[in-house]
Amino acid sequence: MGVHILAFATSPRRHGNSETLLDALLDAMAAEGDVTVEKYALDEIDIRPCRGCNACEKLNRCIIKDDDLHWVLDKIIEADIVVMAAPVYCMGMCSQAKALVDRMQVLRSRKFVLHLPVVPAERQGKRLGAFLSTAGQDWDYVFDALKPVVKCFFHVMDIKNRDISYLMVNSVDKKGELAVHPTAIADAKTLGTQMVKEIKKRLAEEGK
């Protein structure tokens, strides 16, 4: 068995700053060995906005059948580590990322309305999440409004606050700026290594 890592590059700009940060993290994770890394760019898959129909509260699945959410949800549930990278647009995460978060409503309904397990009991506490972000603005509060949204994303997939890591870099606007940032790449690599070590430790523990 290996560690399953699932990552979403949500920015509409491929290989821009937030994805570069993500790639540094994923490279460090892959270097740890015995891991499978899957990365999906939302620019290349189809995740539409939530319709707010609340059908998932009864059906336990999303009523939108013709986009990519179904297999994405399966992968989210299978993964040991889920990573999302999103740029800040207008003080929030880009709308593409927000659509993915909103579609997790299926998991929210499963967990809080239908009271069904999202992951089996033996995998509780054995999942980690990471949120990576970049912002053009240099304000230190530029990430404040999106953190609660990130928490919603991870909570409904049974990843608790203490198991969510954040790496958010402000003042990177133009394409390529992240790559020359003094600390960002190194921080992403350190975080990647740490997370894989931590998840391996937890997976090796006896089930509760």
Binding site: R13, P87, M91, S95, V101, A145, C152
Partner: protein
């Protein structure tokens, strides 16, 4: 840049005399659910505005054909968007030509819906016009003569439920030179507990009153201005 956009940018919107026409009120709903709590709240706001003599229009984002911002930053050089879809006339004509704009959205996952976020992200050209290109500058009078409102509903009742939407709404209204202050938020929390907006004790009445008072305020400003 398309020809009509160039022409539009050459005109100076600020000298358009808005004082001899009714106050224009634009309501934009970001809810995917038609005629749900959020749209009802917006409808009451627009009714209040109409009763005070305003000329109202409602736009429902989920009925439009639109794309999310591509992050291409072409607008940083040109001031206009490379995408041509249903958002363009709203962003280049309807919002700039209105006097009062009300954005309405339910809270999904602690923020506005992705439809409303897509709309706001696409307003990036107006930010670029101001801060990258120095093409536009809104003076203090513009902010007092243009009023931005945020109408929101939420299922949950936690006290900070709307807090993370405000900075996004602020970014939008700053881009268009609309005055948006905390008293311009009309919020209806805990819809799950109330069982819908009609059962909420104050929200619909507050929205109606806010719409009415906003139009009256601008009309009073205009008549004060003329009697000077």
């Amino acid at each position: 840049m398309r020809e009509w956009e160039r022409e539009k940018m050459n005109e100076d919107n600020h000298v358009v005399d808005k004082t001899h026409r009714p106050v224009r009120v634009l309501g934009i709903s970001g809810s995917p659910r038609r005629r749900g709590n959020t749209e009802q709240l917006l409808d009451r706001f627009l009714e209040g505005a109409a009763d005070a003599g305003g000329e109202t229009e409602k736009i429902v984002l989920s009925t439009l054909d639109y794309h999310s911002c591509k992050g291409c930053n072409a607008c940083h050089k040109t001031g206009v968007c490379v995408i041509d879809d249903d958002f363009i006339p709203i962003l280049t004509e309807k919002v700039p030509e209105a006097d009062i704009v009300a954005l309405a959205s339910p809270i999904y996952s602690m923020s506005i819906t992705s439809e409303m976020k897509a709309f706001i992200d696409r307003a990036h050209p107006v930010w670029a016009q101001q801060f990258k290109l120095n093409m536009v500058h809104y003076d203090k009078e513009h902010f007092t003569a243009h009023l931005g409102f945020f109408l929101a509903t939420s299922g949950m009742g936690r006290s900070d439920i709307f807090d993370y939407a405000y900075p996004i709404i602020t970014a939008f209204f700053n881009g268009f030179g609309y005055g948006y202050t905390p008293d311009h938020n009309i919020t209806a929390p805990a819809m799950d507990r109330w069982g819908g907006i009609k059962e909420h004790p104050t929200a619909l009445a507050s929205a109606y009153l806010a719409g009415k008072e906003a139009v009256r305020k601008l009309e009073k400003m205009r008549s004060d201005e003329q009697s000077k």
